[in-house]
């Protein structure tokens, strides 16, 4: 159940991130509100993986798998990049801030930071995805490919049914 929940949340985050990276497709209002929703979903993603985070954090400089250490560093960088993109996006937002009665900043630095951190987020998401590739392949096989192949697999006929259809 937990693995399935993880898969669904991760799939949702991936699709939402790709959509949020393309404001020309969604328009600015959806781009901004989708990003706000994405933040909430990412908090849930972190909560679901809390045990792993706490485990690696407490044993980071001690005995821990090299891959886990690398994954942790990538995840920390992704967290920083995502914070940067959300902070800069929030400060220059044209829908979310006015919705709360606040005036957005007209800052070129924030626009530059928003663009730069969005690119960094995409790059780091790719690395994060690649470092968890075996998990992705495993759950895709388990929850997508195996049920699909079972759907099209020919069921063996029971012996009694086979005897009934035989001509005398």
């Amino acid at each position: 159940m937990k693995v399935k929940t993880n898969l669904l949340i991760d799939l949702g985050v991936c699709i939402a991130l790709l959509l949020a990276l393309e404001p020309a497709l969604t328009g600015i209002p959806i781009h901004e509100w989708l990003s706000v929703a994405l933040t909430g979903t990412l908090v849930i993603h972190l909560l679901l993986h809390w045990n792993w985070i706490a485990g690696v954090l407490t044993r980071f400089f001690r005995r821990v798998l090299q891959v886990s250490r690398l994954q942790f560093v990538v995840d920390v960088l992704l967290f920083i990049a995502f914070n940067a993109v959300m902070l800069s996006g929030f400060l220059i937002s044209r829908e979310v801030l006015p919705f709360f009665g606040l005036r957005p900043l007209e800052s070129r630095v924030m626009s530059g930071l928003h663009s730069l951190s969005a690119d960094a987020t995409l790059l780091l998401t790719g690395i994060h995805f690649a470092l968890n590739w075996s998990w992705v392949v495993g759950v895709t096989k388990r929850f997508v490919l195996t049920p699909l192949s079972n759907l099209f697999k020919r069921k063996p006929q029971p012996a009694s049914a086979a005897a009934q259809v035989q001509p005398e």
């Binding site: 790709l18 393309e22 497709l25 940067a84 630095v109 626009s111 995409l122 790719g126 470092l131």
Partner: protein, 137 residues
């Protein structure tokens, strides 16, 4: 429940600290210089700069601004990626879908390069690993 609330609070606290650090960095002159927006260059960029022979701002603006005939030659933000992300955009399904495909391809390429690279490195390491010495009788 309490544990989840505590963990959520920790995540939000970490996000707040990181955001605060980023905000502080981006509002100081050192941070602005890192993004190429600070100092004299940034000031000239913000003011539009003195026009050169082509009539465009002398610095910075040349990359991000262009004249649009429909606006009577007035300088408008160029419709590049940076301008889109800063909000100068309208919904355009065809361009948006192309952009989405572009982002998807970038993500897939990064992932595949790393996955295949790791597989290649591990295969090479297996191939060239020195065999363990045979046990002596």
């Amino acid at each position: 429940m309490i544990k989840t609330m505590y963990r959520t609070l920790m995540i939000l606290l970490a996000a707040g600290l990181v955001s605060g650090a980023i905000y502080w960095f981006s509002t100081t002159s050192a941070g602005q210089a890192a993004f190429g927006m600070g100092g004299e260059h940034g000031m000239r960029f913000a003011r539009g700069g003195a026009p050169d022979a082509s009539g465009l701002p002398a610095t910075g603006g040349r990359q991000n601004f262009r004249r649009r005939p429909e606006s009577g030659g007035e300088l408008q933000p160029f419709g590049g990626e940076r301008a889109e992300r800063s909000g100068h955009t309208q919904v355009d399904l065809a361009r948006g879908l192309a952009g989405l495909g572009d982002e998807l391809v970038k993500l897939a390429v990064i992932t595949l390069v790393i996955v295949l690279g790791r597989k290649l490195v591990s295969a090479l390491m297996r191939k060239f690993r020195r065999p363990a010495p045979l046990p002596t009788p």
